[in-house]
Amino acid sequence: MARYLLIDFGSTFTKLTAVDSEIGDIIATANHFTTVDTDITVGYKNALSELHKTIGKPMVFDHVVACSSAAGGLKMAAIGLVEELTVEAAKRVCLGAGAKVELVFSHHLNTSEVEKIKSKNIDIVLLAGGSDGGNSECVIYNAKMLGEGHINVPIVFGGNKSAQDEILKIFDEYHLDGYIVENVMPKINQLNIKQAREKIRELFLKKIIEAKGIKKIEQEIEKVVLPTPEAVLRACELLAKGYLYEEGIGEIVVLDVGGATTDLYSISEPSKRGDVILTGLEEPYAKRTVEGDLGMRYSATGILKALTKEEITMINLEKGIDIEQEINQRNLHVGMLPSNQLEEDVDRLLAEMCVYKAMSRHAGKMEEIYTPMGMVHHQTGKDLTDIEAVIGTGGVIIKAKDPKQILAKATNIFRNDFELRPRRPKFYIDETYSLYAMGLLSEYDPLLALKIMKQHLKKV
């Protein structure tokens, strides 16, 4: 029997979840503002004393582990050759590793792009390009550019294997902090995420945590093991697949609408139909996408940009509001919490739009093509039509009076069969914010983590 303290050092809040395996459940949760700018331990200790208060007595934990997205999270630059192929593959690796993809570059790098890697405070660079045995000229050129630019953050090379020797020489010559992993796209349209993702995680633990002032917390706790989004992704995978005799809930989509981004996770086979022609880069079973222009506060203006003039007028007429003004106000006051019915309604409307747009970009597309051989279905991306459940997390969804209304925007509300959105899913919310915690717990006791998740998901 063991007691676990599971922590998330988030950008705004430090969240604590205590689990007792004897009881087989969460025994208490607490949170406090993250204090990474001054001393991260202050916020942690405050949250901890609150947790002890809730439990009613001080408690000793057998394992104290954390995930973190504090201090800007894990910021990465993804570099590849062709946009639809190695660039996309590199991007997916970064997202799957729980990173924020700040910069994306294709083909030959130029000096100003290299400068951007420095000025944006990128934590790790992923350099890809060329299938195995394919183009190696471009990655070699780009590695040299990174060397000339004195990039002093870790560089993970996941490109053409035939270029590896040359790349190692460049790493040496320019004294770069370089690492070699398997090609992220060994063959055209084939995705190979695993090794690159592991390396990124390892670097995150070894270097990034220290650089961000999170390391000192390790005197207080055992260790920081994952970037928060990766913890969530692991939890989702476990929840979908199940563990040993404990069944999972089947294929799922998880929506997280935050202040700055809208994150979407889908755990599902790319396609289950035998009568479609599937093209494009292979889709991962556990896929995460992050929409940096869709959010409730910092990125609220992105929602506005996604609307046409007519749509804005229509919303204003229908809801009796000035949507532009509402959005700008939220963008200026990012700490704003809705204080009346109208503000609540506007927040809900914005969340609905984030969900709708984000799903549009995440879900695959199906085209009907008339050929001389009859009609054929041509699919690109993931088919989410038969998803079992859509799960919402993040403040605006969890606290909404009718979360289902927001979550339903992920489905095919406009009967647009071109987009492969979930058709008839069940809806749940992660009311106790337990996904990140169960992702962490799954490293120790997957069975318990799965049981707790199933118990705590609230059907809406």
Partner: protein
């Protein structure tokens, strides 16, 4: 090993010939990147860039090859692989047209080799060996 990108262009789903070409060229010792049916010009070009291919072999069986192939050489040039070998074959035009004229049209479009209907892939293989140098 030299790389060749093959596939069927446009809204065309004829997969059998594509498999035969894949088999023959692989057996002949080439690294074949088969992007399959329903492929656009961009799909061919992107694959050729990543794989550093020396030849793109476009198949078209449904008669719309001329529209589908238009501008492909120009796109290759724009993409930095302007000197790649471009082959095309199949039933590349509608109806029974004089093949010498058809061939001229495709050559003018920037294709290096143009094959009439019903030709065996072994014929093309001879040209490939010749053009790429064994």
């Amino acid at each position: 090993m030299k790389s060749i990108v093959i596939g069927v262009i446009g809204a065309d789903v004829h997969a059998v010939g594509n498999k035969i070409i894949d088999y023959t060229l692989t057996n002949a010792g080439y690294n074949v990147i088969n992007i399959g049916v329903l492929s656009s010009q961009e799909d061919f070009i992107n694959a050729a860039i990543e794989a550093d291919a020396e030849l793109i072999l476009v198949s078209s069986l449904y008669g719309h090859g001329e529209i589908d192939c238009r501008g492909m050489r120009q796109k290759c040039i724009e993409s930095g692989i302007g000197d790649i070998w471009l082959y095309v074959g199949g039933n590349i035009v509608v109806g029974k047209q004089d093949f010498t004229e058809v061939k001229q049209r495709f050559l003018k479009m920037g294709f290096n080799r143009v094959y009439p209907p019903g030709i065996s892939i072994d014929e093309a293989l001879k040209d490939i060996k010749n053009d790429l140098g064994e």
